[in-house]
């Protein structure tokens, strides 16, 4: 199967999983399951940066609309991740002369590099998301707990989906 078609199908499946989880899996008001960061880090590395930003913004906005969220929350967070995912990739994976189209899959990079990378990406993503999702309307402690819980829950889910969908040969 051509790489692009395969990529589009995987993205569609991940978006579907996200919508189903948002609408039908009840983990309480503190937890927001979000697979957009995973979609952003698997955008082609050799693509023009401004295009990557626009695609990430579009993906975030699509999720905002489909999962009944506040318009702009995922879009803004995804755009921020799109800005930093390339500069973060090279030092974390220690690949300065890397020339492949996509980031290294787990089976090649090793689990810990991937966990660290996802952790930082999710931390950046939820920093934007929680800061703009009513930080002023709740206490700092509640926001901090929500931030940490969301990073950990989403790390586990992102790794599971990463292993099952993005790491198939």
């Amino acid at each position: 199967m051509p790489t692009l078609l395969r990529q589009i199908i995987i993205y569609a499946v991940v978006i579907l999983i996200q919508v189903i989880m948002n609408n039908y899996v009840n983990l309480g008001p503190m937890v927001y399951i979000c697979l957009v960061p995973l979609l952003v880090i698997y955008l082609p590395l050799d693509q023009k940066n401004y295009l990557t930003l626009i695609i990430a913004f579009g993906l975030g906005l699509l999720i905002d609309i489909l999962s009944d969220g506040v318009l702009g929350l995922n879009a803004g967070a995804a755009t921020l991740v799109a800005l930093v995912y390339k500069p973060l990739f090279y030092p974390i994976f220690q690949k300065n002369n890397y020339s492949k189209k996509y980031i290294l899959p787990i089976r090649e990079s090793g689990l810990w590099h991937h966990v660290l990378y996802l952790l930082i990406i999710l931390a950046i993503y939820f920093m934007f998301y929680i800061a703009f999702d009513g930080l002023a309307k709740t206490t700092l402690l509640v926001s901090l707990i929500r931030y940490l819980v969301n990073i950990l829950v989403n790390l586990a889910i992102a790794l599971a989906i990463d292993l099952t969908l993005f790491n198939r040969s």
Binding site: N22, N23, Y24, V25, N26, L27, G28, P29, M30, Y32, K48, N49, Y50, L53, I54, F57, G60, D64, I65, D68, G69, V70, L71, G72, L73, A75, G76, T79, L80, L83, F132, D133, G134, K137, T138, V142
Partner: protein
């Protein structure tokens, strides 16, 4: 200008990034769920088709809870009926707010109480006389406020939304404050800005005050579980809500009679100032 130069690409990237972030922040601040509802109005009927079926599955598994809630409501209504009959027989009825409101029964076809910005879709719309700004309640819960109405459906901004506030008072007193959801637990709320002179204690019941025209008075909504003094100015109270909005199926949309007259009076009063 060299359109392939590093600095040009960097400037373009920063420019696009700033524009996209500004667009995001404008969308967020213009919040939002209501905005999306209006944008999505065109495909609403298709969504409703799927919601009704998926909620049907959820309803099946919640039948026991619905039955229990209806039994409790039935019991409460029977109690009120007996009281009214007794008062009528003794000719003691001097004032009642019961006739001040029109009650429109409705069922929930979409309820997403899993987030920070929750809403519900009800199966009653403009055709049934529903208008925006009407309150939605049950016999023991504040459910929300109608935010938008289509011909057959209405969109309700849930009380489980940090931007929502309701005027509530401690039963049996005249002490009132603002009831807001705490954003953490679907059954916890905070009654804030209660006067320091209030003698309310843990275990007291909190009910709607009727001071706003959205919700009728005297609907018991929760019980006080903790009382805190805030800066020696007023009291904040933690409230355990009686009803879990997540398990609701049937609600009432309430409209206060003479609402337009009250609104006009308020406007005139504002002009006098």
């Amino acid at each position: 200008m060299d359109y392939n130069s590093r600095s040009y690409n960097l400037l373009l990237t920063i420019g696009v990034f700033v524009v996209l972030e500004v667009i995001s922040i404008v969308m967020i601040t213009r919040n939002s769920v209501l905005q999306r509802y209006l944008i999505m109005n065109g495909i609403r009927s298709t969504q409703v088709f799927f919601w009704e079926r998926s909620e049907g599955i959820r309803d099946f598994f919640n039948l026991r809870a619905y039955n229990q809630a209806l039994q409790e409501e039935n019991a409460a209504l029977r109690g009120k009926l007996a009281q009214i009959q007794y008062l009528q027989e003794t000719k003691a009825v001097t004032d009642s707010t019961a006739g001040l409101y029109r009650w429109i029964p409705a069922s929930i076809i979409k309820n997403n109480p899993n987030k920070q910005h929750n809403y519900l879709i009800l199966n009653r719309g403009a055709k049934d006389g529903v208008q925006t700004e009407m309150g939605v309640v049950t016999h023991n819960a504040i459910v929300g406020v109608v935010g938008a109405v289509s011909e057959h459906y209405s969109y309700v901004i849930s009380f489980l939304n940090k931007s929502q506030k309701a005027s509530a008072m401690i039963a049996g007193t005249t002490d009132f404050g603002l009831l807001t959801w705490d954003g953490v637990d679907g059954r916890q709320a905070t009654l804030s800005h209660v006067p320091l002179s209030s003698t309310a204690a843990v275990g007291d019941t909190v009910c709607t005050s009727g001071y706003s025209t959205i919700y009728p008075p005297d609907i018991p909504v929760g019980m006080i579980t903790a009382v805190d003094d805030v800066s020696g100015m007023y009291k904040d109270m933690n409230v355990d809500l009686f009803q879990d909005i997540r398990s609701l199926k049937y609600v009432y949309i309430v409209q206060r009679h003479h609402q337009s007259e009250i609104d006009e009076l308020s406007r005139n009063a504002a002009n006098i100032k």
